[in-house]
């Protein structure tokens, strides 16, 4: 008889493609949380989040800012005594929430990543000035002023080219990506 997949199994499957052990291997030692340089800014530490996943607290996990606060420094991954690739788990949870369009309100991360992806599909390369303006207002007028001052200084030092460099074979790159996700339409 078919049984529905538990949330904990579903999340374990996010790790399926990678080498490491599933979240069920966690011994709750807290090495990840102690090693994490941004744990203080997370609403749940990595250890807590894994416990919540195993307890099937789906909504609380998806609402958590924990994985969007992860900077992918891999300190947890290389120290985990149970061999869980925790940073990869955080990536998996980011993708899971983007896919379901369900994440903590007020986060810039998901929107930033989407914009970034669209820029790469269009031009093949990243160019910072295309991304920055969308978030200029976030720091209030003082933040905006600081940001503009820095941009001006970088332009003066010759560190900010005012024109992006695109790859030559942009159409071919889009064609390649369309073969991965066959969305139809012309390349």
């Amino acid at each position: 008889m078919a049984r529905s997949l538990s949330f904990s199994d579903e999340i374990a499957n996010l790790l399926h493609a990678a080498d490491p052990n599933p979240v069920q291997a966690c011994i709750q030692c807290g090495t990840c949380s102690a090693s994490c340089p941004v744990a203080a800014f997370m609403d749940h530490s990595p250890r807590q989040l894994i416990a919540m996943i195993r307890a099937g607290q789906r909504d609380a996990v998806l609402r958590s800012n924990t994985f969007w606060t992860c900077a992918s420094c891999y300190q947890c991954t290389v120290r985990c005594p149970a061999g869980i690739d925790i940073a990869y788990l955080m990536y998996g949870l980011k993708r899971y929430t983007v896919w379901r369009n369900r994440y903590a309100p007020g986060l810039i991360g998901p929107d930033f990543s989407r914009r970034f992806m669209r820029m790469i599909v269009r031009t093949g390369r990243s160019w910072e000035p295309a991304l920055a303006p969308a978030y200029l207002g976030r720091g209030g007028w003082r933040g905006m002023l600081a940001e503009m001052r820095m941009a001006a200084a970088l332009v003066l030092r010759g560190r900010m080219p005012l024109w992006p460099r695109w790859i030559r074979r942009r159409r071919a790159l889009r064609e390649i990506l369309r073969h991965i996700v066959p969305v139809g339409g012309r390349a």
């Binding site: 969007w68 992918s72 420094c73 300190q75 992806m117 820095m150 080219p161």
Partner: protein
């Protein structure tokens, strides 16, 4: 002359141009040729991997395919690009189904990769291939008296190394010692700079930047050296904002490893892209160039007072 396929990455065309210039200069001075990969594309950074893993690996695979045509090892100066390309090569070799799927897509542009191209970070090439003895022999201006904080950051080391091997690294200190500088010991050499959180969660990133600068500064470092353009941008360009937010220590210049090694090899600072900093490094650079090693310690402590 040894040659490598060279993947500069997007940041080295913009904010990190000095890394590109100094990498080319230093490698040329050490008889290494860097041949830029033809029409390379973005490695996906972290952001693309937040949306879709297979698409992100496909971006990496296109670069691997372009590099593989040359038959050379692929070298990346950016820690993030290095980690992504390295991971993609590993995944393509391990997962035959995924490799076939991605190669089917690459075939749309006549490309193919086995994932067997060897992906290296620039510092690996310096330390392992060129070798410290050869670098030592080429030093024209030993950086005696220069106290340098080697900042490993994350992805040159992790996740490729695990356990003790991820903690007990010293190749960076060895390289700096080989050019006559004094690497300082400080707690945060392997700690994260905040990465792309500087764009998405500014206060979090600024707090990490502050802690790093404070840690390096307390160890008496004249300069912090980085292996990654994003680390350089966070630690240098956002140093002022971090200082304001956390009442941090005075300015500490942040240079690329290739700029510091280049100075020791006698390459003129301008050709190393020095002079483009927001936190000026001039005092450090002139103390290193014009002063004989004996008088340099005094000049450097003067430089320290200036900042």
């Amino acid at each position: 002359m040894t040659a490598y396929a060279y993947y500069p990455g997007c940041s080295l065309e913009t904010l990190g141009q000095a890394y590109h210039l100094s990498a080319l200069e230093v490698m040329r001075a050490l008889d290494v040729e860097l041949r830029e990969v033809e029409d390379w594309n973005c490695c996906g950074a972290t952001a693309y991997f937040h949306i879709d893993e297979i698409l992100a690996y496909t971006l990496c695979a296109r670069n691997l395919a372009l590099a593989e045509r040359t038959g050379l090892d692929l070298v990346a100066p950016c820690a993030g690009c290095f980690k992504n390309l390295h991971a993609a090569a590993h995944v393509l070799q391990r997962d035959a189904d995924l490799a076939e799927h991605i190669n089917d897509a690459l075939a749309a542009d006549g490309l193919r990769t086995t994932g067997r191209v060897r992906v290296r970070h620039l510092i690996e090439v310096l330390v392992e291939d060129v070798g410290l003895d050869r670098i030592r022999a080429r030093v024209q201006v030993p950086l005696t008296g220069l106290r340098v904080a080697p900042y490993y950051g994350c992805q040159v080391v992790r996740p490729q190394r695990t356990g003790e091997a991820a903690e007990d690294v010293h190749f960076y200190e060895d390289l700096l010692t080989a050019v006559g500088a004094t690497p300082v010991a400080y707690a945060d050499r392997l700690r994260c700079c905040g990465g792309s959180l500087i764009a998405t969660q500014r206060p979090v990133a600024l707090s990490l930047v502050h802690e790093l600068i404070a840690s390096a500064s307390a160890s008496g470092a004249h300069v912090i050296v980085t292996l990654c353009p994003l680390c350089q941008i966070n630690l240098e360009c956002y140093q002022g904002q971090a200082r304001e937010a956390f009442d941090g220590p005075g300015p500490v210049p942040v240079l690329y490893v290739t700029q510091v090694v280049g100075l020791a090899l006698g390459i003129p600072p301008r050709r190393l892209g020095i002079g483009r900093e927001l936190v000026r490094a001039d005092a450090i650079v002139s103390a290193c160039r014009r002063t004989a090693p004996a008088g340099r310690a005094a000049a450097l402590s003067g430089a320290e007072r200036m900042r």
